[in-house]
Amino acid sequence: MRSRKTLMPLLAGLLSLPVSGAAYGQDTVTPVDLGLLRDSELSVVQKRLYPMEKRTELGVHVGLMPFDAYTLAPFARGSFTMHRSESFGLELTAGGGYGFKNSAYRELEGPAYGIAAEAYRYLGQVGVGVEWSPAYAKLNWRGKKVYHHNFYFLGGAGLTIEQSVLPAKDMAFGPGGSVGMGLRVFRGKAGSIRLELRDDIFIQSRTQTSTTALKQNVSLSVGLSRFGKER
């Protein structure tokens, strides 16, 4: 802020000075009065150190779906993002994993309760979506290192493949949408670390009960990505 305060009067003074060089060849010089620029009329955005515009990004993520009542699914996911600008990108994702019965399910189906939920385990998902990155920032870590990062939101559509945990192992292919948010920490111009919270919401037809339900797969993931060259 100190630099801006000294810059403003100086800039105003410079603009208000007569163009003395030109006065040598002309009799009359009319100075241009630009008036006074206020602080609020000026904004300066520093150029991003790690631009994404017109670059592609290939990512590999691993994560967990820990929020389902009866299953716990580790998974891996790949992503390919085409950044059309610094803020928007198109993303393709494909992933796979396996949902295990959690301790709650095992207790429920045990002899004490004798109840089995028609839960479905995650097997895979493919999707397409957009990424909106409204914020890019730097973080000074203990005065020793500066981390460049951006926040982004995800939205899209996809198809989730799941399998019943009942012995029938019925398959279910659920179309739906995805929302999510993430943090991309740049590791240089070539790559980044991505932390993502994502919710795949889809329609699931369940065979044994002939029911249709809306299901959510909320996942937490961490990934590494690599940027392609600017096109």
């Binding site: 009542a69 189906e109 004798g114 919270l197 044994q208 339900a213």
Partner: protein, 465 residues
């Protein structure tokens, strides 16, 4: 900023939502239904005509033991030394189905408390009116180091009506002496006085012969009634029941909680139990009382060789009645047991008609006892359900393999008691609220059986989570 806040809120809300699932009841989970305890009650006809068959039962008992301890191999399980114990433990843990925890007891078909055949003034001799014979009266490997030996002793020493000693060369209808027999020797195929003295003791005296009216079903019922703390009402209130309150608990240990009960009736006559009128061949009244016990009861009968289709006996040395024999046959059919003939015909032309045919002889008891072992090994074909299911939602898996619902065989063939005969698979019986397995799909003891179903009403209990 407003857009950002909205997006964050939307994401948080969606994550907070819970997945909802429909629920199935699950039955048959491992130990919940796995039951390898079998309480076997032999009801032996101790009338004079039965000593041949009782001898055969005792002399062939090892076949039964072998079928039980190793139904796959039939060679038994070695139990000598620590190494065998370790091996057996590993085998037990990994293949529990090969081990059946059985115990044995014997009563007789004599159920008349007024009968004092030997005139000693004791109206109720051991084995009569549902009491048990022998010491120990309940034989279990935990308390009996020699299960076959104790069983044979109980049969031959306390439950058999022996004829007198043979005079001269003729050994028909009498028990001979064998001066060369030494205790511990294999008695071969004939019981002798010397053999009996070895297993029963020198001061042993043959037990009293049983009543002339053989009441197999009544004897079995009385034995079970004496074994439980709270006998079903049917134990007391049927016509002619000799049971009194003081008898309750007198057969303690005969029945273990949840164990399968197998009643094995060995007789050469039909059933003459008092609850049913003479000529009545339907045992349902008795079976209804047996159903009041909290255990599954299966009947196996080794009885007269009666063919219900042509209403004739082939060999009937005991003089069994057709209706009395049909009672036993129907009882075995309705409880999933088996009926075997106690006599076989060895005539050259294959025909033995009449009550006292010279070509009739005791059948192979080793085969009967092996059948009994097989019955125990395949007994677990009924799985009771906790709640009333919607039958359309029942799913059955054995070791993870889906078992289809069974359809009745071609033209819905009917068995002798009017039930349809089913092919491989399962059926749901409304009256018993149970799933039954049929044919080759009957699970082995060590199989993991899981039955999923949707209850007719909502879940019978609130979810714990």
């Amino acid at each position: 900023m407003r857009v950002l806040a909205s997006l964050c809120a939307l994401t948080a809300l969606s994550i907070a939502g819970c997945n909802r699932y429909e629920y199935f009841m699950l039955a048959g989970y491992e130990q919940a239904s796995f039951q390898n305890e079998a309480d076997i009650l032999f009801v032996v006809d101790n009338s004079p005509s039965m000593y041949d068959e009782a001898s055969a039962l005792g002399l062939n008992f090892n076949a039964f033991v072998e079928a039980l301890v190793d139904p796959q191999e039939g060679t038994g399980v070695s139990t000598e030394g620590l190494a065998d114990a370790v091996d057996n433990y590993v085998l037990y843990v990994t293949q529990r189905g090969r081990f059946i925890d059985y115990q044995l007891a014997i009563t007789t078909t004599s159920a008349d408390p007024e009968d004092d055949a030997d005139g000693d003034g004791d109206l109720v001799e051991p084995g009569e009116v549902g009491t048990l014979t022998g010491a120990p009266d309940v034989i279990h490997e935990d308390t009996s180091p020699d299960v076959p030996g104790d069983f044979v002793a109980n049969i031959l020493c306390d439950s058999t009506c022996w004829p007198g000693e043979c005079q001269g060369e003729d050994t028909t209808g009498c028990i001979p002496y064998d001066p060369y027999y030494e205790c511990g020797d294999d008695p071969g195929e004939q019981v002798t006085w010397d053999y009996l003295e070895c297993i029963c003791g020198n001061d042993w005296e043959p037990p009293e012969c049983g009543s002339g009216t053989e009441e197999g079903l009544e004897g079995a019922l009385l034995a079970l009634c004496r074994a439980v703390e709270s006998p079903p009402d049917g134990c007391f209130d049927h016509d002619g029941s000799p049971l009194v309150d003081a008898d309750v608990g007198s057969n303690e240990g005969l029945i273990r909680d949840g164990a399968n009960i197998i009643v094995v009736i060995v007789t050469d006559e039909g059933d003459g139990s008092r609850l049913l009128p003479q000529g009545e061949d339907d045992p349902t009244e008795y079976l209804d009382i047996f159903d009041e016990f909290d255990s599954r009861i299966t009947f196996a009968v080794i009885g007269p060789n009666y063919d219900p289709e042509d209403h004739s006996f082939e060999c009937n040395s005991g003089g069994g009645t057709s209706w009395g024999t049909r009672r036993y046959q129907l009882a075995t059919e309705s409880t999933g047991g088996f009926f075997s003939s106690i006599e076989v015909c060895n005539a050259p032309d294959g025909s033995c008609t009449g009550d006292d045919n010279e070509y009739c002889e005791a059948s192979d008891f080793s085969a009967h006892l092996a059948d009994l072992g097989d019955l125990l090994n395949s007994l677990l074909n009924q799985f009771p359900l906790q709640s009333i299911p919607d039958p359309d939602t029942i799913l059955v898996y054995v070791d993870g393999v889906n078992i289809p619902e069974s359809q009745c065989l071609e033209n819905c063939e009917i068995d002798s008691i009017g039930d349809p005969i089913f092919g491989d698979g399962w059926t749901y019986e409304t009256g018993e609220n149970s799933v039954y397995f049929h044919g080759t799909t009957v699970p082995d003891y060590n199989a993991d059986v899981r039955i999923y179903y949707r209850p007719v009403s909502e879940l019978p209990r609130s979810l714990p989570f």
